[in-house]
Symmetry: C2
Subunit: 151 residues, 2 copies
């Protein structure tokens, strides 16, 4: 994956968390995801296709997902349910949409988001993709954005 | 989701398992996925976008995934690793590609496949999607295909 594709997703995540949730994301060092690192408990995932194709994953700790959903739904859920999943999916959609707008030469379209829950789930990209994981921290705990795109 | 979108995925799964793996899939009754049913241990997922957008999920038991990978890789893996994930992703890609060809009026493109592993993972579609789960059985155990598409 080209390094210049990372920045639009990094800035989109920071911007969406700031605008939609009033929360600051602090970024760590992006690294190459090799498939052995488990994701956080809840992951929103959305497909990209066009002149390039790929997937974007937003992965959140349980606490972060519940807090995100509390703000987006305007009422605090106590457990991970389909409303929380919808909120995480919508947040993933916003981040992918904002990043896509900055990569308009790739003429990508977004799929529907889906949301994966499970304490030990792990999301693998195809090996040739060389996906990048961008770790973030926020007041609700860890958040990661993973991107794999090939032209 | 329109009912006429289900059949292309159903026949694509049966055809790909037959052609690529020499294995017969026996179909059960499709049902509306409500988000509470956990997926099997390994799921390939691929996004669709165009005049309609959605996601397709191929979910396999551990034994089925290892057997699929054994045939596709031409050597039998003993555990779920990145080669198995790549094989499941490729199989998902073939099923989605065959179904897309039969839905060409929707002008959909495929994203990259990704593969989710985890004993208790659950994949949620957005509520408004009304995703359908098609359960299958084969000699290696249960297999499901889930599809959610909106125009």
């Amino acid at each position: 994956m080209k390094v210049e594709y990372i920045n639009p997703f990094l800035t989109a995540a920071i911007s969406v968390f700031n605008t939609m949730l009033g929360t600051t994301l602090t970024r760590g060092e992006p690294f190459l995801k090799n498939g052995t690192q488990p994701n956080h408990e809840i992951s929103g995932i959305i497909g990209l296709s066009g002149k390039a194709k790929g997937m974007v994953v937003l992965s959140l700790s349980r606490e972060a997902a519940l807090s995100v959903a509390g703000i987006m739904l305007d009422s605090q859920p106590q457990e991970i349910n389909s409303d929380v999943a919808d909120a995480v999916g919508e947040l993933t959609n916003m981040i992918a949409g904002a990043a896509k707008a900055k990569l308009d030469h790739l003429e990508m379209n977004l799929s529907l988001p889906t949301v994966i829950t499970g304490k030990t789930h792990c999301i693998d990209f195809p090996k040739r993709t060389m996906p990048i994981c961008i770790p973030f921290d926020c007041k609700w705990g860890p958040v990661t954005v993973e991107v794999g795109i090939v032209e």
